[in-house]
């Protein structure tokens, strides 16, 4: 390991360092504001480090475990930006609740570190390490409000299922290793291209099970609504974006090596998963009355859409995935951001009734939430529309017509429940006052994050050109 390796690794090192620093500072003196500020500064510095130290060196293989190429840096940047938003939203959310707050930030930083490692990993060892750092931090984060029953329940559910899926993953890796004798993605790909043996097939299947759980695609989606509902709102935002996004980046890197289009059984498998996720996610969301649960099922469907782009061949697929993930990050963070700022001390604002007639009390917040929901539904002038367009574009470019048509049908179904929330926002007569959860004014930090997200949403929806250019520049290189 040389010095330039360390320089290239700067973003990850900074993250780890910040986590330790916050821990030490907390050990000396508990101060919520200080912990939050340190976290935000640390993440921002790590983000800047990507641009300053890592980018000039990219692409760089740092040990066999990690690669910091443009692809990895793009996703690490995305993960960091999202974590920053979550950290800023968490501060006013946690303030005034019982219990200690500082550890929350340490866990958040560690989870972010795990995600960043995932985005850059090219080896089973780093893959598994990253995944476990992420998962273990999430167990604690999900169950963070210790007095909430639902939260504890969600944490335990996540723990059991994540542990089971990690076991699958490990077993799969072991089988692959037994067959090929290597744990590097690129070499596995070469081996898989020949006639795959039984171990290899079984190993791949188990790895898909493990990843499928993290991505919450059908049929590994059962945990999603409960965890989304039980976890505190900022953590839900984190689970929905950072955790899924980084795993998806890894999935894409891993399977791009194995040329998916030519390997029919895998292609078929992913197609089935994609179609099932799109339909089941959207259909089950129709039955929900809890906003967090609705968004949980909607995220299952969105991962299904992403898989369509994942299956598209050529450079278009990864580009569509990248654009969609960014749009999805912005939108999901925005939606959960609104839930976060509206949540009270006793419980999160997750019942549909909490939103009835919100229009009258806080028009700007309602406008933001509407924009986010319309973006999730893929309505023009929002980022979600361009993202969905990009996916259909990639799908049509690879002539995946069945998948594209399923996407069309599924997203038409999806409109129902987004519109139901929007309808509730503007519903009600002036006499029927809703019972506000937290009528304290929305904090400045919350407002700021939501405003930035809203601007991004519209900007990506109206003039995505610079961003498309950036993505094209990054993804025209081989991953």
């Amino acid at each position: 390991m040389t010095v330039s390796d360390l320089i290239a690794l700067c973003p990850l090192i900074l993250l780890a360092f910040t986590a330790v620093l916050v821990m030490l500072v907390t050990a000396l003196r508990r101060n919520h504001l200080l912990a939050a500020t340190l976290t935000a500064v640390g993440i921002t510095l790590a983000f800047l480090a990507i641009l300053v130290t890592s980018l000039p060196l990219a692409p760089r293989q740092v040990t066999p475990l990690l690669v910091l190429d443009h692809y990895a840096l793009f996703y690490i940047g995305l993960v960091l930006a999202a974590s920053l938003a979550v950290a800023i939203l968490s501060y006013p959310y946690l303030k005034g609740r019982e219990g200690n707050y500082e550890e929350f930030y340490i866990l958040l930083l560690l989870a972010t570190l795990g995600s960043a490692v995932l985005a850059g990993s090219t080896h089973f060892a780093s893959f598994f390490l990253g995944l476990e750092i992420l998962s273990v931090s999430l167990y604690a984060l999900i169950a963070y409000p210790r007095t909430w029953e639902r939260s504890i329940e969600a944490g335990v559910k996540y723990l059991i299922l994540a542990a089971a899926s990690a076991a699958f993953l490990l077993f799969g890796m072991a089988l692959l290793y037994a067959e090929i004798g290597t744990m590097e993605f690129s070499q596995i790909a070469t081996a898989a291209r020949g006639v795959p043996g039984t171990f290899l097939k079984a190993g791949l299947a188990m790895i898909i099970v493990g990843l499928g759980f993290k991505l919450a695609v059908v049929p590994f989606h059962i945990w999603t609504p409960d965890v989304y509902e039980g976890a505190p709102a900022p953590v839900t935002a984190f689970v929905a974006t950072v955790s899924k996004g980084s795993v998806f980046a890894l999935l894409l890197r891993y399977f791009t090596h194995i040329d998916l289009q030519t390997y029919f059984p895998l292609f078929l498998l992913f197609s089935i998963i994609a179609i099932a996720s799109m339909f089941i996610g959207n259909l089950l969301a129709l039955l929900q009355k809890n906003v967090k649960r609705i968004l949980a099922y909607s995220s299952i469907a969105h991962l299904g859409y992403l898989l369509v782009a994942f299956l598209a061949s050529g450079a278009l697929g990864p580009m569509a995935v990248a654009f969609y993930l960014v749009a999805y990050f912005v939108t999901t963070l925005g939606a959960f951001g609104v839930i976060t700022v509206l949540s009270g001390k006793e419980r999160d604002a997750d019942d549909l009734d909490d939103y009835r007639g919100l229009f009258r009390d806080s028009p700007y917040l309602t406008g933001t939430f509407t924009a986010m929901l319309l973006s999730l539904a893929g309505i023009p002038l929002t980022a979600g529309f361009v993202g969905k367009f990009y996916i259909v574009f990639a799908g049509a470019g690879s002539a995946l017509w069945l998948l594209v048509l399923c996407l069309v049908a599924a997203s038409a179904t999806g409109l129902f429940y987004y519109l139901r929330i929007v309808g509730a926002l503007y519903a009600g007569s002036p006499e029927a006052k809703r019972t506000p959860l937290a009528q304290a004014s929305v904090s400045l930090a919350g407002k700021l994050v939501l405003a930035v997200l809203l601007i991004l949403l519209v900007w990506l929806g109206v003039y995505p050109t610079p961003f498309v250019q950036l993505i094209q520049a990054i993804f025209s290189r081989p991953i």
Binding site: L374, F385, F393, A396, G397, V404, A412, F416, S429
Partner: protein, 532 residues
């Protein structure tokens, strides 16, 4: 730049009316009244500048054009253009926009700012649809007019608004997404053939492709536009949406939104896929005739006045479908005439029904009757528009339907004969409205105020417009002439381009005499059919 203004003025006015509600609850109305008026004036200036003795004086295809880069990496441009056809439709949009604002003057009492925001954005989206020359941009506008329309129905509609708005949204959104998929299909077919990946309408015209591909792509477009039009099997959203929408919503729906479907057929389906379209024409024409008859019969069976008017739209738009797919100059001219006159007459009918509903709080015709004695002015105006709707000679609608039948007769005599029966039904239901509402046994109501000055002024303008169009249809015909000519030309060019491939030759050989006739009349030099 001027074209951008047409859209921007409305969009900005929408935002302004939303914001201005804070200061004064009357302000949104005035702002929203101003915006379509300014748009109307702008378009009138453009029209006046280009309207010559024989038609539009123009050097190139578009009277005005904007072609900016938008997302060049994907071949997407911000390309707007206006020709005679678009101009007439934009004119109609601004005109009916004013009517819609006036109709909601007193009807809307809550969330006024947000209401006008939505109304303005629907109008902006519709104008965008009429101007877009890039298929991606077209799709953006197509969707942009959808969401505010949904809000209009869902938040300010009548009793059953939630169901109606969802049905409307699902039908149009699903068909819209299907259209997006086919737009992309066309994009990739064109890109693979020529190496130029673009969504630009001008480039995509003349794309050659295998007939089976063309059939798939065409049906995607056709379904999307048929839902909006609406053609018969996919019309079921319309009665619900029209009935439950607030008056302004019904006016915009019937007067403008339906027209975007007709416009799509004219601008995109046939010029882009002339070969399969001519093959498909008999089916579309049959659907049109079914629409004419079925809509008229169902209209007669309604007891809900608004629903009745909604079904007459199905019937009248059947004429448009018939005319468009007859694809000869007479029928096309007729279809455009019909589009405009139906927009005005049905828009005003909805306005009147809305005014009536505001007075008696019901749309049930069983609870109406004998209003002539209390509201003679409303009765007279309603009678006028009922007569216009049944196609009384001397009014614009007659010219439209007559030309459509005249043109369609050349394409298919049998279907035209059936379609003509629609006139009889139209007479029955139109007079039925007058009979049930204004004559007969008197319904018990406290004294009802007759049409107010504001309402009289607006309906008076509409009456004048219809009479003027009926007596002087030439102005519409000559405005749209060159645009239609261009459309027909590009269709022929595209067809010639595809003829080199063996598949189409095979199809042409199988074409029935009627289709060959359609093709022939399309290729005939413009104007030989004889202008009235």
């Amino acid at each position: 730049m001027m074209l951008l203004w047409l859209i921007l003025i409305l969009a900005v006015a929408g935002v302004l009316s939303w914001l201005s509600e804070r200061w004064n609850s009357k302000l949104p109305r005035w702002i929203s009244l101003m915006a379509p008026t300014i748009t109307l004036v702008l378009v009138l200036i453009l029209w006046r500048r280009h309207l010559g003795q024989m038609g539009l004086t123009q050097n190139q295809q578009w009277l005005a054009e904007i072609d900016w880069k938008w997302i060049p990496q994907l071949g997407i441009g911000f390309h707007l253009g206006i020709d005679g056809l678009s101009l007439l439709l934009v004119l109609l949009t601004a005109f009916l926009g004013i009517l819609a604002v006036v109709s909601s003057w007193t009807e809307i009492r809550e969330r006024i700012g947000f209401f006008y925001f939505n109304l303005m954005w629907v109008l902006a989206g519709i104008i965008g649809v009429f101007l877009a020359l890039d298929l991606f941009l077209f799709y953006v506008f197509w969707e942009m007019m959808l969401v505010p329309m949904y809000f209009l129905i869902a938040f300010w509609g009548h009793e059953n608004r939630v169901y109606a708005s969802l049905k409307f949204f699902l039908f149009t959104q699903a068909s819209g997404l299907l259209m997006l998929a086919t737009i992309l299909g066309l994009y990739f077919v064109h890109g693979r053939n020529t190496g130029v990946y673009t969504f630009d309408y001008g480039h995509l015209l003349g794309t050659s492709m295998a007939p089976s591909t063309a059939l798939w792509l065409m049906s995607g477009f056709f379904i999307a536009f048929a839902v909006k039009l609406p053609a018969v099997p996919v019309h079921t959203w319309l009665p619900d949406a029209h009935t439950e929408a607030p008056t302004a919503g019904s006016i915009v729906l019937a007067g403008l939104l339906l027209k975007t479907g007709a416009y799509g057929l004219l601008r995109f389906v046939i010029p882009l896929f002339p070969g399969v379209s001519s093959q498909f024409a008999p089916v579309a024409m049959i659907l049109g005739v079914i629409g004419i008859l079925y809509g008229a019969i169902l209209a007669f069976a309604q007891t809900d006045l608004k629903r009745l008017v909604a079904y007459t739209s199905v019937s009248h738009m059947g004429f448009v479908l018939l005319g468009v797919f007859a694809w000869n100059s007479l029928a096309l001219q007729g279809a455009i005439m019909q589009i405009i006159c139906h927009g005005i007459s049905t828009g005003t009918l909805f306005f009147l029904v809305g005014a009536l509903q505001e007075r008696i709080r019901t749309r049930d015709m069983n609870r109406m009757g004998g209003f002539w004695s209390t509201m003679p002015r409303m009765g007279g105006v309603m009678l006028f528009f009922a007569l216009a709707s049944l196609g009384l000679p001397g009014l614009g609608n007659f010219v439209g339907e007559f030309l459509v039948l005249n043109g369609a007769y050349q394409a298919h005599a049998g279907l035209t004969a059936l379609a003509a029966i629609g006139f009889v039904f139209a007479t029955i239901y139109s007079l039925w409205i007058i009979h049930r509402v204004f004559h007969g046994s008197k319904a018990e109501y406290p004294p009802l105020p007759d049409l107010l000055v504001r309402e009289l002024a607006v309906t008076g303008v509409m009456i004048a417009a219809l009479v003027w169009l009926g007596l002087n249809p030439q102005i519409i015909l000559k405005t749209s002439q060159s645009a239609l000519h261009n459309l027909q030309q590009s269709a022929i060019l595209t067809q010639k381009g595809t003829m080199s491939s063996p598949g189409v030759d095979f199809n042409r050989a199988r074409a029935t005499p009627a289709q060959a006739k359609v093709a022939r009349s399309a290729e005939r030099p413009f104007g030989q059919g004889g202008m009235p």
